[in-house]
Symmetry: C2
Subunit: 629 residues, 2 copies
């Protein structure tokens, strides 16, 4: 099979994001753990701003990227140092793993040049999950990494008055490795980290950490190829995706996944039932526990960090979906529903849940308990089918926790704004605060083509209420497969929604970046405004469409008011005026209490002070025409 060892041409985007540098910060524990971050340099003597960085080595000019050999296994030593793992011969790759009847790969995807031949698993009787270590009181390097990464900007914000409504979140002023450990131990956060995916930069998903986002990629039965998907993975993480889900269907699922995992610095999740279904030719009722189990091992050895398992779709709930406007919209959910109906048996995922858990703990794979009965429309939100499944997911969460296996819970979907909070409250209650991971939700169904926005509205809200990770939605949702641009728009939309949630929750450092950008805007530092934004290219491109000249980048005006009059300039004059007084602006005011009388009183006080200052102000010179460069 000639093509196996011939290098593949896969172009990905590398190099720093404009106006910023990759930096590595040593954990303050002195353990030597180095945490990757991004620092944005500012003009006008402003201190640089550090931001959370999911882009991996691809934005580090000092790292040579070779897609054909994959990323460096940074976590390998940490994993082996715990001496609770063993190498073994990997399961043999079968033709059906790639949806092929014969070994012929022609027309398919080339095999990754150096697949894992000797994967790791826990030694007999051991449990290698981060939750297991956490419960034994062990602080792992992964936990240290997370602590440093999440602390980002908190120093800058230390004099900051905290402000926000956390709805029960308990976000500390500073994140210590011990705090990370305790959150993981009690199941309120997870660190998805398959021991066979040592290329990852550890991250945490939990309501007391920054809100994370996931981007879905993957081949479909009707389109895309491996080069495109690897590029999408790199592209999505460049703009801020905290995890990636490979939702490939059709052929070449095994090889596509290998390419993605070996080159991904973020955790990778999958829905194993998709591949299992391909192995039985797409006939749901032909699925068996053995085929599914074999698929879990296959993916565990490749290094998948979390599995979506639809074990909550129980036989008894299936008929509830019959009453709906849009029935079952989850692909995994409908596969299991069909299996249950055809056999009139309880779901084999539910029946074999503890067997699945045994596999999870041998590789440290986290559960992402799937919401196979999530609503597919506003009309079906918060219905009996959805909540019945949620209660079962709560039961399964506690069963997984008995084995120290990490769990997060998937959530909707399509929910009008007034029903969003109920979803969060029920999930926290039923699932013991296990991290919630929602898809949107969309708050209306009338805007196909804009569902990144209809769902971004719901995502920001549910993130505020306590959802730990938001699964992005692209403009193509419900219509087609996202291309590169759609992926970027989806990621940026979800980053801003997640950030809005952090602000509203009162995350101590969240406002640092907003304030830096607002200050740059007020001072007409256009380049800083672009560089501090989530998408500098688009910001600059939009600016230049109206005022292309390079001079406009330093002009003290914008295209809204033009050079002859500018609100910002007036504000500066107001500020200068106040500063010229030997008293603070407050002294102009009789009182902080509001209301017309107070206004009248303060007005008197103000006029008194101002009359004296009248001449002084005139002396300041009220220049009105700003330099037109």
């Amino acid at each position: 099979m000639a093509d196996i060892n011939s290098p593949v041409e896969i172009g990905v985007t590398t190099g720093p994001i404009r106006g910023s540098r990759k930096i590595h910060v040593g954990a303050r524990t002195g353990s030597g753990v180095q945490v990757a971050m991004r620092e944005i340099d500012l003009e006008g003597g402003e201190a640089p701003v550090r931001v959370y960085d999911t882009s991996g080595p691809y934005t580090d000019p000092n790292v040579a990227i070779d897609i054909n050999s994959g990323l460096e296994a940074k976590r390998a030593d940490w994993i082996r140092a715990r001496s609770d793992v063993e190498e073994y011969d990997a399961r043999e790759v079968k033709p059906e793993d790639n949806g092929q009847l014969g070994p012929d790969r022609s027309g398919g995807v080339p095999q990754f040049p150096n697949p894992v031949k000797r994967p790791l698993r826990a030694k007999a009787g051991h449990n290698v999950s981060q939750m297991h270590y956490a419960r034994k009181g062990i602080i792992t390097p992964e936990m240290e990494y997370v602590a440093e990464r999440e602390n980002l900007g908190r120093e800058l914000a230390k004099d900051f008055v905290r402000d926000g409504e956390g709805w029960g979140a308990e976000i500390p002023d500073v994140i210590t490795p011990e705090f990370v450990r305790s959150e993981v131990a009690r199941g309120r956060a997870i660190i998805p980290n398959n021991i066979n995916h040592p290329e990852t930069e550890p991250m945490a998903i939990g309501r007391n950490f920054l809100v994370k986002i996931n981007a879905n990629i993957g081949n479909s039965a009707v389109a895309s190829d491996v080069a495109q998907e690897v590029d999408k993975m790199v592209w999505a993480t460049r703009w801020g995706a905290d995890t990636i889900m490979d939702l490939s269907t059709g052929r070449n699922i095994h090889d596509t996944r290998e390419w993605i995992i070996r080159n991904s610095a973020v955790p990778v999740g999958t829905v194993p039932i998709y591949q299992a279904l391909e192995k039985v030719g797409g006939v749901a009722e032909d699925l068996t526990w053995d085929i599914f189990r074999d698929t879990l091992i296959e993916q565990a050895e490749q290094g998948v960090d979390y599995f979506t398992i639809h074990a909550g779709v129980r036989l008894a709930y299936v008929p509830m979906a019959a009453k709906r406007v849009t029935g079952i919209v989850s692909r995994g959910g409908s596969i299991m529903a069909k299996w249950c109906l055809a056999h009139h048996k309880e779901s084999f995922l539910y029946e074999h849940f503890d067997d699945i858990t045994e596999i999870m703990k041998a590789y440290d794979i986290a559960y992402s308990l799937g919401d196979g009965l999530r609503p597919g429309s506003i009309a079906d939100a918060n219905d009996e089918a959805q909540f019945s499944e949620l209660y079962t997911l709560g039961e399964l969460t506690h069963r997984a926790w008995e084995h120290d296996v990490q769990v997060m819970i998937e959530g909707p979907g399509h929910v009008p704004m007034h029903k969003i909070k109920e979803n969060m409250e029920k999930q926290l209650e039923v699932c013991g605060e296990a991290p919630f991971y929602t898809l949107g939700p969309l708050v209306t169904d009338i805007a196909p083509g804009y569902d990144h926005i209809t769902s971004g509205i719901g995502a920001a809200q549910i993130g505020w209420y306590g959802t730990a990770m938001l699964c992005y939605v692209t403009p193509k949702e419900h219509l087609g497969l996202p291309d590169r641009d759609d992926v970027k728009v989806g990621v940026v939309t979800y980053k801003l929604a997640a950030h809005a949630a952090d602000l509203a929750k009162g995350h101590p450092a969240a406002q640092v970046r907003d304030d830096a950008l607002s200050k740059a805007r007020f001072e007409f530092r256009w380049r800083d405004q672009f560089n501090l934004s989530l998408d500098p290219e688009t910001a600059e491109e939009f600016h230049d469409q109206t005022l292309p000249a390079e001079g406009a980048k330093t002009a003290h005006f914008c295209s809204m008011c033009g050079p002859r009059f500018c609100s910002m300039q007036i504000s500066q004059e107001v500020r200068d005026f106040a500063a010229k007084q030997n008293e603070s602006p407050e002294s102009f005011l009789a009182s902080e209490k509001l209301g017309a009388d107070t206004a009248e009183a303060s007005r008197q006080a103000a006029i008194k002070g101002m009359e004296e200052m009248s001449e002084k102000y005139k002396d300041m010179g009220q220049k009105l025409y700003l330099p037109e460069e």
Copy 2:
């Protein structure tokens, strides 16, 4: 001046929006009032869906559009029938009205061919405001029009269980003309309707009506021309703008406005201080009451329906802005702030408020009390300057109401999610439930280029809490001037946010369109899905990028799962299965109560029932491969 009477080439978009027809529904009062609506035809024997229509005659194939003569004056008879108005000679247009020193129009904007030479005003001692009639117990044709227009879809929804959280809104099951009258009488809604803008189709802005949106257009000192602005007005209303604000600055303000108003079927608002500033060469401190008053008359005669008046920017509040990260970002606010500081006097807008009110009631112009001290960044949200001004706006609202003049209140701006509700609650309390009209608010400042989304998140929330009209934000906000595409994206984004708010408030008819679209999606009626969406062109374009073939429009699958497996199909099988039983799906369930035990119980019940049906189901034939057309 040769060009005055030569017709101008202005291209605007006309013709029906795809898949829909313009219809006219007679008011059920039998008064003969005909209300324009849009009806979307569906396939598969589904009843057509009626939607609110702001597009005016431009989407009516039976109307010949001539931009050079303007729209038909549909309201003219209603206005004159009240016999409380008189014609008089219009104020002479002065060169400075268009920012010119001489009469030479070369290089400027051509004059509208037939400007209003004999405008109307209230006869001495009369008040022609809708509020005045309402308080006298008179139901005007305008109120009838609004009632019919807002009732839209309520019949379809009558068997609908109402559901939502209205935060104190009092939305009736059916809107009667009397309800409209009472809402206008108590100031909880306004119908912006200058008697010199008889081309409008009456609409209401109030918390107990559908949430409305405004689109800003207008020339700027650095760009655009009249043809472009008229086209933008038609384009924005085509996609759903309920009102338009002409924020033109620089030259040719008067003529640009005339072209826009004569061709606009929706209310037009302005910020008169912008034009007044141009008249004094941009020197804020040279503004006088006389110049401002003359500008109000000029615009009143042209037919402006609402004026943004920044009378709440009082001298005493100006220094409060000095403490801010972004000072004063409202252009009108900063103009008045500068005037106040330069003269050390109270704002002439505040001092002459009652004089302004006299003008408003003579033409039925509504106040849009401007928030000149709105926050320009997350850091400045809900601060002393903002709320001090709000309290003054409350005081002015009650003063305007003493003269039966309609009022709405402008709001922020930039507000993190946890501070949005406080804005709404304070406004309702201080301003006696006068309609709130907010710009966004943006919930974070870190995403320039995506501020239609950062603000759409805040807009959906504040609309849910009770804001009556949302001023759109385009992707170019803070960066440049919106082009045609930006206007469309801004309008559609705000339509979906306003609709999400209606759904959450529990508007009785809001969910009709969502359900129709969801049903079309479930049944793979692709064309219906496109036509029911806010932007059919974009929806279809996105679909075709993945599956271009015409066959795909009728295919019973989509590009996400492909033809071999489909969740929706499985759902249909589940439904058929349930239907085949001689019992309802409910009978599968032991109880409505949720929880693991119940699940177990219902599971037993289900298995029992299902075993009997096992054979029947198999007979149904479980076809899996769907036709690949």
